[in-house]
Symmetry: D2
Subunit: 151 residues, 4 copies
């Protein structure tokens, strides 16, 4: 994830006016997320109530069993959830999340997380996130609930 | 987390025979967990069905709101859960986890996660993890369920 | 839910040989589930890895706020999850579930829960359940993980 | 659960002025919860941020495996959560809950759920609920998050 990710070909942002559009603004901010940069998570796509993130698994993402650490898979899903939930006019912060782990992948494989809005209320919203491997097989399923602040 | 963490003063391991004791063995392996090293998570204590981990929050752990990323807090809790659940004779892998976020902390603060076994069955086990700040105030609560393999 | 529900028009079972087909067998057993009978939950459809249940909300399903009790909505989702997860050759029991509540409905409304398999492993499996009102609007989202025994 | 449960010996309410005390008020309202009455759940104790509920398992609470239905165990935990979270001055409604199932019990056994507040924020609060059997062994662990409305 680089400073210009929001303008790159890989980031498919459904907006062209960065100054005023909340989707473009969150795409730029999420593309510069410090922890995503630490882990190596890239923001691939942002639309209203929707986001995709990617992570190519390296040795440094493994746990002591030699498989991708739950924290790395979770962070990938959480980053998609955070971006998707902040595409509106309110600031969204996570209240509760949960994740089911299904399968491990090898080093070198690129994981993709897709977050979709399932509920948008006045004060809270909910998102389903699916993490898949390169063949589209499920790796994990995540759900998150945010609280939405007026700015 | 360094290679000699299992022998350091900070790691309080309830065993002194590294070759045969599963607690000592998991302490050494978990102290060398690659993703924990990437994030900066230290293993502070391991006992049967129990583990503590620590993370000092840096700028690189923040999200785009400027608060600790959920993925960093989760990874801290998950690391305690992973260590605690692998102190027995079976290999434990995460099936399901969930986390509730309560409060954010500032850069420089050290978070602590304490994992305790709440259920040990033949094939699965469950752990509660509490993440607190330096004053002991709750930051997050996590619960995880593992599947346990015969080696 | 009556003894002959498995043969009724409302129960859409993808099988016609009750003696040997696990889907037909589970349809009959789930149609006679005592707690579903207590609550008033009907099994509407069972296919491999899939089930639908229905509940018409009555006064007796309300909580002290005057809205459908979480336990009633959960039981509806859980019943679909239980039926869907037992359509295979193994006996499935719940390890972990979670539910997000989105909206309340009025007395007289019929809720529908649809459970779909998202993962089928050797020892565990996972299901997403969506609870909707009569117009198809989301009421709750549920996810469950089962352990699967050899009989 | 009967209309006079709030005044019975079994209901240990930390208040003696029912007209103005929110704990006494919620004890009375929760003791008359229609769904709890349907299922047979009794409110045993209510204090600020704390509640206990009980359920004696009958044949009508079983699932098609012949063990207590997840929906019955969940409803017991959820009822304790609902009472505990409404002991303050705000109306609390469930956003998210999750439950881990550990063990089944036999018909005739009385289950007890104890809900304790783990976080009280301005708009949300969190509760841990432990369900145990008559010997105090864990049957399930539940966690719930509420949204709190100003009345």
């Amino acid at each position: 994830m680089t400073d210009d990710a929001a303008d790159s070909d890989e980031t498919d942002v459904a907006a062209d006016d960065e100054d005023t559009n909340p989707v473009a603004e969150i795409a730029e901010r999420a593309s510069n997320d410090p922890f995503c940069e630490t882990v190596g998570i890239d923001l691939a796509s942002v639309h209203p109530g929707y986001a995709e993130t990617m992570l190519t698994v390296e040795e440094r993402h493994l746990n002591f069993h030699g498989t991708p650490h739950g924290g790395a898979v979770y962070a990938l899903a959480d980053a998609a959830f955070a971006a998707a939930s902040n595409t509106g006019s309110k600031t969204a912060v996570a209240l509760e999340t949960n994740i089911s782990y299904f399968a491990a992948v090898d080093v070198g494989e690129t994981l993709r997380a897709v977050a979709e809005e399932t509920h948008l209320g006045g004060r809270t919203a909910a998102y389903d996130v699916r993490v898949t491997d390169e063949t589209g097989d499920p790796v994990a399923t995540f759900r998150g609930r945010v609280y939405r602040f007026d700015d």
